[in-house]
Amino acid sequence: MRRALIAAAAVAALVVIGRYLPSYYTGLLTLALIYGIFAMSLDLLLGYTGLPSLGHAAYFGSAAYVAALIVNKLGAPFAVAIPAGLLAAVTIAALFNLLALRTVQGYYLMITLALSQVLWSLAVSWRSLTGGDDGMAIPRRPDFGSWLGVRLDTDYGYFIVVLAVFLACLAAMRILVASPFGYALLGIRENESRMRALGYNAWAYKYVVSLIAGLFAGIAGELYAFLHSFISPATLSIDLSAQVLLMVLVGAAGTLWGPIFGAFVLVILQNIVSTYTDRWLFVVGAIYMLIAMFAPKGLFLRWRDRAVRALRQTA
């Protein structure tokens, strides 16, 4: 009960503070919330199920692109474009994971990376459709009208919309991880062969959670596209996939709150670093190397345990 009160207070604080922040910072907050949704969706895969995806941006970007394309090229209303984008993300997840979940341990990482790279290169090379590297502008933002006297097409208004969606996603995912399905995911992460011996169709769980994660990533992707009214292949890049992975790891995988924290940290970090240097790629790469080499054992303990377990079972 106390946690609920604290959470409600935090939300109220955000709503109030956001009103009076300079719009640059409101934008940052909005971005952090969007990445929060994105990072939580990866946590479902990585933290809860033990699936290390290096291609999560594929769902983020495909929802964004499809929604943007439908608005720009077909002139359709957002009521059509938004669900269509989400459908695209889930479809991509459905196709990719038919392949990625077929393979042996260690391969999943590479396959998810490869498949999302293909999508990225498609966005880059199909200039006539996507504008290639130059990206695509999205002239309109969804018009949610106004609510309680706040015009929702302002920066602050969009922030409120994103906050609401964020809270809804958070609530949904919290129920999911506490559900029978969620417990099964944990079991699969800890010991997949035992799960099968107990009667679980492990593949089905991994597949369905991939679809769900794809859906939430797609939601984040669309929110992102409409935030900046602009979209580029960066939304499909390995850069983004690696960043969201970092958010989950920095924030402690398998907790939902951790990735949210990680998202905020990364947005702040990115902001600070880019004011001092253009070498963001170098900084990020160095962070990955440091984390990989020196991260507390606990961070990777689960995956090591899983690998050892898999090895022992086949002996």
Binding site: R102, L113, F282, Y288, A292, A295
Partner: protein, 286 residues
């Protein structure tokens, strides 16, 4: 397409395939046999190419550039294994993060040092120009690549099939006793294969340089191509890597002609088919 066009494009595909094979051979040993995830493989290509370019610009000797690039990258690969990867034995995600970090860092360093403009490695004088093959004009350099590729494939085959170390590599590193039996320690084999793979990638950078050019992003492209080849050919199989290189090289070439907007898409198709029907690859161990 005319007959001449077909022949030229087939040869183009083959010559590209040979560069791919250099990359894939290393990756299939590293990823397929040692089960080490090395995303920095693309970096070895790029850095090797740039190093070779520097040697050529400085001294003007192509063979020297090739050797230096190979050795430099081999040294980096060995260092990577010794100081970093060895500690992350059998930990997929940390290995991926580490090598991804290296990929990014190397890409940025290369960008700062050599700039963002695509550079073309000059062909060695001896191999410049064209020749006529059965009445069809064709660049000598590409023919050289094809010949070199076949020679290299033969050497690799000899190594794998006919040497004791090759037998160990074939056995898939599963048998520690076998390793001890021929007096080689497992860590040494790991370092050696990482060095070999990295060196080959660096050599690919120099040899492929005149063809493909060097530019930011080439490391990612090359990594993806090598991965597709290794997947199609089968993890750990040199023969598979050779066959798959040819297949992918041809598909990529003709794909670029017929469907230029879908460049990478065309080579994904064989990968998808292989994963769907025979996940262990054409010649992989089931």
């Amino acid at each position: 397409m005319t007959l001449q066009g077909w022949v030229v494009n087939l040869l183009n595909g083959f010559s590209f395939a040979m560069v791919l094979f250099l990359l894939a051979a290393g990756l299939t040993l590293i990823f397929g046999l040692l089960q080490v995830i090395n995303l920095a493989h693309g970096s070895f290509y790029l850095l090797g190419g740039y190093v070779g370019l520097a040697i050529i610009q400085w001294i003007g000797n192509f063979p020297l550039a090739l050797v230096v690039a190979f050795l430099a990258m081999a040294a980096l690969g060995a260092a990577l294994q010794q100081f970093c990867l060895a500690r992350l034995y059998k930990q997929d995600l940390p290995q991926a993060l580490l090598t991804l970090g290296i990929l990014f860092v190397a890409a940025d360093v290369a960008f700062v040092w050599w700039g963002g403009n695509p550079q073309l490695l000059p062909q060695p004088e001896l191999l410049q120009g064209g020749t006529r093959l059965f009445g069809i004009g064709y660049p000598i350099y590409r023919l050289f690549l094809i010949v070199m590729g076949i020679v290299f494939a033969a050497l690799m085959w000899l190594f794998i099939e006919r040497t004791r170390l090759g037998a160990v590599v074939r056995a898939g590193m599963d048998d520690e006793e076998m390793l001890r039996g021929i007096g080689i320690s497992a860590p040494l084999v790991f370092t050696g294969i990482l060095a070999l793979g990295a060196g080959l990638a660096g050599a690919a950078g120099v040899l492929g340089g005149p063809l493909l050019g060097l530019h930011p992003g080439a490391d990612f492209e090359v990594l993806l191509l090598a991965f597709v080849v290794v997947t199609v050919g089968g993890l750990g199989s040199i023969k598979g890597a050779f066959l798959a290189s040819i297949l992918i090289g041809l598909i990529d070439n003709f794909g670029n002609i017929w469907f230029p907007q879908f460049s990478l898409f065309t080579i994904i198709v064989p990968m998808v088919i292989v994963l769907a029907l025979r996940p262990t690859g054409l010649m992989g161990r089931a």
